[in-house]
C-alpha cells in the first residue's frame, strides 16, 4: 500500500505540461519510466540524495497504467489530485462543458460514505 507514491505520481505529472501529454499518450510507458527514474526523487533534495524504498504495488501500477481513476479512488489516492490530472487528460475529448466531470462522478456512483481513506 503506497498511497503516498500514488499521490506523488499524480502530483508530479499534473504540474508538468510535457508529462501530462506523455502520460495521456503512453500511460504504461510513462508509469514504468516514472517508477524507475522519478519515484524516489525527494522533491527538495539533490538527485543523488534520493530515497531507496518507494515502489508501487502491482494493483497501483496497473491502475495508473490503465488511466483507471475509479480504481485510484478505491485505492485511496487523493481525490483532488486524481480529478485535477484526469481533467487535464480527458476533458478535451468531450464536447459539452463538464461532461467528463459528470461521467467521472457516474463511474463512482456505487460509492457511499465512508469513502476510501485518503490519509497518507
Amino acid at each position: 500500500m503506497s498511497k503516498y507514491l500514488l499521490d506523488k505520481f499524480l502530483y508530479t505529472v499534473d504540474r508538468d505540461p510535457e508529462l501530462v501529454e506523455r502520460y495521456r499518450d503512453d500511460p504504461r510507458g510513462t508509469v514504468a519510466w516514472w517508477e524507475a527514474e522519478q519515484a524516489n526523487v525527494i522533491l527538495n533534495c539533490p538527485g543523488a540524495e534520493r530515497s531507496t524504498w518507494l515502489k508501487f504495488t502491482d494493483t497501483e501500477r496497473e491502475a495508473l497504467a490503465t488511466h483507471d481513476y475509479a480504481a485510484l479512488f478505491a485505492l485511496g489516492a487523493h481525490s483532488f489530485l486524481t480529478l485535477t490530472l484526469f481533467i487535464a487528460l480527458f476533458e478535451r475529448d468531450y464536447d459539452e462543458p463538464l461532461a467528463f466531470q459528470r461521467e467521472y462522478a457516474a463511474r463512482l456512483a456505487h460509492w457511499s460514505l465512508p469513502y476510501p481513506d485518503i490519509s497518507t
Binding site: 502530483y11 525527494i42 481525490s79 462522478a105 469513502y115 490519509s119
Partner: protein, 288 residues
C-alpha cells in the same frame, strides 16, 4: 495601533474569472447575476479603505507537498508571484504579481508563535487561487500589499476545527495590537459543502444544500457555539469530500468574533457549489 477595517469571508470559485470575462456564446447564463453579486461584495471592501490585506487560504498541492506539509504557514516575503500552470490550464487564471507586507508577516510570526501557534513560514511562496480568487473578486487591481496565511484543509491529519477558530481569534488580536496606523482587512476563503473527485461532484447544486443552509446561518450570525458543536474532522466528510475547506470559514468566524453578526451577507446557488459572501466592520464603516 492598526485598525481592522474589515473582516471578509467567502467561497473561492476558480471558475469566476473565466465566467465573468467570457463573451458571446461562451458566456454562461448565470454570469451576469454572479458579476452583479461580486460587484456588490467588492464594494464592501472598497468602503473599508484598506491599506493592507491579510489573506487566509489553502495551497491546493501546488508548492506545499506531503513530504513536508505545514499545518499553518505564514508567508514572509517582499513579493509573491501567483497562480500556477494547472490553474491556467483548468480555470484560465492569469499569472499575478503581489507585494508583500513583510513587517506584518514578521510580526504575526513572532507574536503568533509566542501565543502558542508553532507557525511555519516561507520566504519564497507562490500564491494559488485560494488567495488570488478573492483578490480577483474583491480587489482586482491587486495593488495592496498582502500577508498570506495558509492552512491545511487538504491532507490528513489536519488540525481540529477548534484550532482554526483559535488561530482566527489570535490573528484578530495581533492585528489590532500591531503598532502603526494602517487599516488592515482580514480576508479568508474556504468552501461550503464541496465534492471533488467523488460521486457527488459537479451536480446542479452543492452536494449538501442542508449543510450549506446551516453553515451560512452560523457564519452570518457568528454562531461559533453551534458550528463547533456540529462540525468535526470526521463529520466534514459527510457534506462532501472537500468540505474541510469549511474550516477556513471557521477561522474567519474566529477573526470576526463570537456572535458577531455579519454586516453584509449574500449567497448564490450555483452548479457544483453554493457561493457565499460575508463582511464585518468591527469599527463601523463610512456611509457609501
Amino acid at each position: 495601533m492598526a485598525t481592522v477595517a474589515a473582516v471578509i469571508a467567502s467561497t473561492h470559485h476558480p471558475f469566476y474569472y473565466r465566467a465573468s470575462t467570457a463573451t458571446g456564446d461562451d458566456r454562461p447564463p448565470f454570469a451576469d447575476e454572479w458579476v452583479a453579486k461580486i460587484g456588490a461584495f467588492r464594494e464592501t471592501l472598497t468602503r473599508a479603505r484598506p491599506d493592507v490585506l491579510v489573506m487566509v487560504g489553502s495551497d491546493h498541492f501546488h508548492q506545499l507537498w506531503l513530504d513536508n506539509m505545514p499545518q499553518f504557514l505564514i508567508g514572509k516575503a517582499p513579493f509573491y508571484d501567483a497562480n500556477f500552470y494547472n490553474e491556467d490550464r483548468e480555470f484560465g487564471l492569469p499569472r499575478m504579481f503581489l507585494k508583500g507586507q513583510e513587517d506584518l508577516s514578521a510580526y504575526l510570526l513572532r507574536e503568533g508563535i509566542d501565543a502558542g501557534f508553532d507557525l511555519a513560514f516561507s520566504n519564497e511562496l507562490r500564491i494559488d487561487h485560494s488567495i488570488t480568487c478573492p483578490l480577483i473578486t474583491l480587489r482586482p487591481e491587486a495593488d495592496l500589499p498582502i500577508v498570506p496565511i495558509y492552512t491545511n484543509i487538504f491532507a490528513p491529519p489536519m488540525p481540529q476545527p477548534r484550532r482554526f477558530v483559535e488561530l482566527g481569534r489570535t490573528i484578530r488580536q495581533l492585528v489590532e495590537a500591531w503598532p502603526g496606523d494602517q487599516r488592515v482587512a482580514i480576508i479568508g476563503t474556504g468552501h461550503l459543502s464541496l465534492e471533488l473527485g467523488g460521486p457527488r461532484q459537479f451536480g446542479p447544486h452543492g452536494p449538501d444544500p442542508e449543510f450549506d443552509r446551516k453553515a451560512v446561518g452560523w457564519i452570518a450570525s457568528g454562531d461559533l457555539e453551534s458550528a463547533l458543536a456540529q462540525v468535526s474532522l470526521d463529520s466534514l466528510w459527510e457534506p462532501g469530500n472537500a468540505t474541510h475547506g469549511f474550516m477556513d470559514f471557521m477561522l474567519m468566524m474566529g477573526v470576526a468574533g463570537e456572535n458577531a453578526k455579519a454586516d453584509y451577507t449574500d449567497s448564490l446557488d450555483l452548479f457544483h457549489t453554493m457561493e457565499a459572501y460575508f463582511t464585518w466592520y468591527p469599527d463601523g464603516v463610512d456611509a457609501p
